[in-house]
């Protein structure tokens, strides 16, 4: 056999493998890359310390999570602390920037967002158990990097598109279409700086962009797994 045909056969085989990727193959690799529900469920609590960055300023931030059930975020601005917290079915916030020093109840949209954030188990990896639907849209170039675009249609009607780096299978970007009653809100988030947190790969940088540049970023200097969290911090101050 001539060398050329061997090479072309090899190329053909490679091409076939590439196109034969099913959505479950891709999710399997994504699950392996991130740790997946098995590892994610082992995270009982997580404490994230870092900063929110916007307009040349850094705002220190601490987020404390009880996997799937509670979350509290503290953000410091001009020496004042903005707090958002929820546990189970109700949430509250304090926003002294607006002059209110007492806690106010969260609106349903904020509550929904907070609940989503507290869930450390990947909806995509756990889609079957959670009754979501998935679809492999295809390959797409994201900022010069080849990705697999996977659609996750959640049970509640929200839709998420994951752009998984075709080499590492870690999400590079996520686009969401969240339904808040009559309203549908779309957003794009970019992830990087994946580091291991208790067996789970977590992005330590998330960016939001507008007009081709970053306008908002959160950077976590430290994410600790399974630290002790006093449940009292989630309770709404009276």
């Amino acid at each position: 056999m001539k060398i050329n045909s061997i090479i072309s056969l090899f190329l053909l085989a490679a091409a076939t493998t590439a196109s034969a990727q099913s959505v479950d193959d891709v999710i399997k690799k994504y699950t392996k890359a991130t740790g997946g529900p098995d590892e994610q469920k082992k995270l009982k609590t997580v404490k994230m310390t870092g900063k929110m960055k916007q307009g040349g300023m850094d705002f220190p931030m601490v987020i404390q999570i009880m996997n799937g059930t509670a979350m509290r975020a503290d953000i410091t601005v001009q020496g004042m602390t903005i707090i958002q917290a929820f546990k189970d079915t109700s949430g509250w916030s304090v926003n002294p920037l607006s002059g209110a020093t007492t806690a106010q109840k969260m609106n349903p949209e904020e509550l929904k967002d907070s609940k989503e954030q507290s869930d450390l188990v990947s909806d995509l990896a756990d889609y079957k158990a959670r009754g979501h639907k998935v679809e492999l849209i295809g390959k797409e170039d994201v900022e010069g990097t080849e990705t697999y675009k996977v659609k996750l249609a959640k049970k509640d009607g929200d839709v998420e598109y994951y752009y998984l780096d075709a080499e590492t299978y870690l999400p590079l970007k996520m686009s969401t279409k969240m339904k808040y009653g009559e309203k549908e809100v779309e957003s794009d988030t970019y992830f990087s700086d994946y580091k291991d947190v208790g067996g789970v790969k977590m992005a330590h940088s998330t960016q939001i962009k507008s007009g081709g540049q970053v306008v908002f970023e959160t950077v976590f200097d430290k994410i600790e797994a399974n630290v002790t969290i006093d449940e009292a911090i989630f309770k709404m101050p009276q």
Binding site: I3, N4, I7, K53, Q54, G55, G56, M57, D58, V77, Q78, G79, M80, P96, L97, S98, G99, A100, T101, E135, I137, D141, E143, G144, T145, K149, K151, A153, V159, Y161, D165, T168, K177, E182, E184, Y190, S192, D193, Y194, K195, S205, Q207, K209, G211, G212, Q213, V214, V215, F216, E217, V219
Partner: protein, 1026 residues
Amino acid sequence: MNKSLFLLLAAGISALAIHAQKITSSTIGALEARQIGPAVMSGRITAIDAENKNTRIIYVGTAGGGIWKSTNAGSSYKPVFDKHTQCVGALVIDQENPETVWAGTGESNMRNSVSIGTGLYKSNDGGSNWKMVGLDSTEHISKIVIDPQNSNTVYVAAPGPLWSDSKQRGLYKTTDGGETWTKILYTDVKTGCADIVIDPKNPNVLYASMWQFRRTPWSFSSGGKTSALYKSTDAGKTWTKMMKGFEGDEFGRICLAISPSDPNRLYAIAESKKTQLYMTTDGGANWTKKSGSMNVSWRPFYFSLIMVDPVDPQRIYRPSLNLSISTDGGESFKEASFEGGWVHSDHHALWINPNNNSHLLLGTDGGVYQSLDKGNSWQMFGNLPVSQFYHVQIDDQVPYNVYGGLQDNGSWYAPSQSVNGIENKDWENCGGGDGFWVQPDREDHNYVYSEYQGGNIMRYNKRTNESKDIKPYPLAGEPKLRCNWNTPIVTSPTNKKTLYYGAQYLYRTRDRGESWEKISPDLTTNNPKKQEQDKSGGLSIDNSGAENHCTIFTIAESPLDENMIWVGTDDGNIQLTTDGGKKWTKMNAIGIKGLPAFAWVSSIEPSPYDKNVVFATFDNHAMGDMKTYVYKSADMGKTWTPLMTEDLKGGFAHKIKQDIVKPELLFLGTEFGLWMSFDAGTSWILYKSGDFPPVSVRDITIDKNTGDLVMGTHGRGVVILDDLTPLRALTPELLGQEMTFVAGRPSPITNGHYGGAFPGGGYAGPNSSEAYVFYYYFKDRVSSGEVKIEIYNDKGELVNTLLGNKRKGLNKATWDLRWSKGPRVAKGVKVDISGFIGQLVSEGTYTVKLIKGDKSITQTINVAFPKNASRDEMKQREEWTQGLFTLQEELAFQVSRMSSVEDSAAARAKQNKALEKTAQALANKLKTVREKCVASIEGTNITGEEKIREKIGMLYYQVAAFDGKPTQMQVERVKGLKKEVEEIISEADKIYQADLAKFNAELKKYKLPEITPVPRDQWERMTKSK
């Protein structure tokens, strides 16, 4: 080693090496362009559909601007088809699964300027993602219908190619949701399927019309023996001609409507020598003649829509030149009223709410209108920027204005920058009809030359709003002037007085059109066979000027030589004079290799670097040839080199533009997008940044002051790519570096000029940034490590930190030329605005440090005040702002110091109860002083409470916000506030000296540590924020 394997590997390696340095679309992905509108007149709408169960969800298909979706009944729209062909012919929602939407590309309103499609697309997720599912060679799709009982069965009517014979025409059917297609009705290569309706109660029953039609560059023909109406009762297996009652033996385009409430009743408008409406009440077996009025018969090839009210079978809507309504089953029509405002003419799409037949959405050549009263009054959606420009031009003002003419929407201009962005209110009309070329007078900005179809050039005066007809007329005995639909009017790049105009002859004026000089003979082929437009149209004569041929289409004077003028004609001639028009030479007499004879010369671009160099694009699409033709000549047009490459897939070409700074940088406007070459045409990339769609780019110009690339698109209005500097900097050497800065245009120190004001409503196109834009390049995407940009002044102080992008290729970050931080403010119950406002930086040299993980590179930049600004005033603003900044920090220090003494005193008192009284007294005294400094009323209300902190904060904000000097009153106010702070210091000091000293004496007695008010340097260290 086997030699061939070695060669193969070597080739592979060198290919890799080249690949590593190649510019791709994503290399420049961060350089997003801005669409400045306009939406005030919007553009041609071809299809509208809404969800039956949730009519707030609307999809709008356009002639050249893609598909737009609203989820809020039209309050806002988003484009959802930007990766695909922008010309949409048909659009339909599967009402059983409303997330499924079908779109047929290639409009079927077969006017001269119509674009082409690339097949049928389907979305399963409400328009977020689309997949091409077939019919890729049909070029035009007029209608899609879904079997109401089976969503997998879909019928698609494809009239097929307008400019050539094709077997791709006909009626198509899928029964597997688009996986496979069968052509179920076909006549011949000249006859396509124009319309299809399905019986909503019995989906086996279908009606379809076949249409024979054809365009050439010089004629149009609608109608012939093969045009006919058919019916099938077996879901398309067999078809029977159903025209009993139709008058005549030759037909043109036939449009159909079935009554939803009575499906045996259908209406059909059949184009013929006497175009007529017909009605059947027995499912097509017999047809009765109805109205033949102008409402029905006007331009039937262009207006091919009729609809029946969902409830009342006698009520018919006929969108045409205007919308007409019949309430008597088509016996008579009256025009819909336009109470509430004008409605743009030329209607091609109509949606009637099936749940509420008073609610209509109408698609016109000028956008979408909504009626809530069955068409008696209308409101336009001013948020759809799908305007179709033919040409674009700019003037030399600051900011420059953009001028251009649009399909059926006249001529307009708007500033490239405006307060709040470029809003609908910023666009000024300067000509009517169909607009094409618009030229600002180069000497007097009040004058604008615009035109309407067929060479009718007007001189418009912006100040007086007067227009004067200045078109050249043939002199006695001269033949009639032949003017293209899109007649060129072009100003000279070398002589501000000169304006050219092209009929079959070239004309020149140097007195604003008061007189014209004919400076050429007939420069066209003057082929009489291509000049029979009075017979054009087919069954119904349609001689609007759209088919005028053997005309001049492009004029270009060399920027290096006033006597050197190039002319291109629509019948393929490139003509050159080098003596200002005395003698002309046809430069392509022997033809150009690879270019079909007579191909339309769409643009000629004489190089600004060398008068021997010239570029040209050719458009042969009107002969059915959609290929891109772009050529360069380096010997003044004697020989031509093709610049087409395999990667260039733009369809027919409209405009080539050579950059005015870097000769190798070329921009090519094609029917499918903007293409760029960084290597003088050796390779091309498609511009896709920010999901810029493959829209038809008809014209391109570059502003020499800003380096902006300005595009006139035929479907997305005017699009500006700000600042070409970074594109000019891209070289293979640069691309080989791991990380590097890339040059951009500098920005002066200013608060800016286009900040918020009361919004004007409708679409607002973004402004370009007045901030300093940094560009930088990463060879690879940064997947780990922080990316940021730090800016230091010449003292080494960190001025600002910008967020960094991590993408592979070019990235950008903007600096507003401010310090990131405002003054430290005294702590209170509320935040103070001044704490968030950094001052503008001073003139000088700054070091910019790009940090990527543990690596960094630096560059230095100079920043300066705006050229026209008073340096003295800018300096005064700096001084006074700095004074207020210092004062605010001094106050913060004093307050913090008092608080800490109070806290310490309280702490000591806790240690020894005997101290309580004195501690309290001391604290109370300090508190009284402190409360003069900062507002202390809590609550979310407007408390109105203003203490020194708030007064300084507001004044700081006001003085900092204006570039120039502060007012005398502001200066006095600063002085007054300074005094107030001094008083605070003195009062506090007195307390420290008297009361604190006394307390310290007591502390000493109880052997507790004394309290010292925090010294300034310690406070500085404590509060130095990270």
